[in-house]
């Protein structure tokens, strides 16, 4: 799953540490999310969307897996 987390965070001038602190996760989790190495749980996705005042689908781009 792709996401625009890094772009949105940079647009707003927020540091990874600040975002991690606000979401009560580690900075490594934010870094992994931004690199697309880790897909968040639904509750973390909601937390991120709430933090930025956006909808989940504005941040996370769902792509159907091809078999």
């Amino acid at each position: 799953m792709k996401n625009r987390l890094e772009d949105i965070r940079r647009e707003r001038g927020i540091r990874q540490e600040t975002l991690a602190d606000a979401l009560a996760v580690s900075r490594q989790t934010i870094s992994s999310l931004e690199n697309g190495r880790y897909n968040p749980s639904i509750s973390l996705a909601f937390k991120i969307a709430h933090f930025f005042g956006m909808r989940i689908e504005d941040i996370f781009i769902y792509e159907e897996e091809t078999v």
Binding site: A24, V25, Q28, T29, P40
Partner: protein
């Protein structure tokens, strides 16, 4: 909320440390005087554990509150929890492979009784895995 066995205060941890030190010192002196017994060894072990508990408690008390929050975040972090679960899952198969290797070694060395013991351990290992799996299958 359940009442803790030991109060999270400096005084309780110093007391634990002191009691532990007294037990260990008494054990060392008694052994030196030639009163060696199982009870003495047990007392020394208890003393060492008490000293360890006291020391760890004092160190934890000295840690900064912001460090404690970071530790809690790191511990509950969902990515880290997932990593921990994946590691535990892989460890199950690594342990199983290790036990298989031990069984093979015992068979080659013709040590049949230890071999049956390890096979029993393997069965217990697999049964516990299946049991926990069935439990989670019901609860999730």
């Amino acid at each position: 909320m359940k009442k803790p066995l030991i109060k999270h205060t400096k005084r309780s941890y110093i007391l634990l440390l002191f009691v532990g030190a007294v037990l260990v010192a008494a054990g060392v002196i008694a052994t030196w005087l030639g009163f060696g017994s199982r009870l003495l060894s047990f007392g020394m072990g208890l003393g060492t554990a008490s000293m360890g508990l006291g020391a760890v408690g004092l160190i934890a008390l000295r840690a900064k509150p912001e460090d404690a929050r970071q530790r809690e975040i790191d511990d509950k972090d969902e990515r880290y929890v997932k990593i921990r679960e994946k590691s535990a899952y892989s460890t199950f198969f690594v342990t199983l492979a290790g036990l298989c290797a031990v069984v093979l070694a015992f068979v080659l060395l013709d040590y049949l009784i230890p071999c049956y013991f390890v096979i029993g351990l393997m069965a217990l290992h697999i049964a516990s895995y299946l049991g926990i799996l069935a439990h989670h299958n019901k609860t999730f």
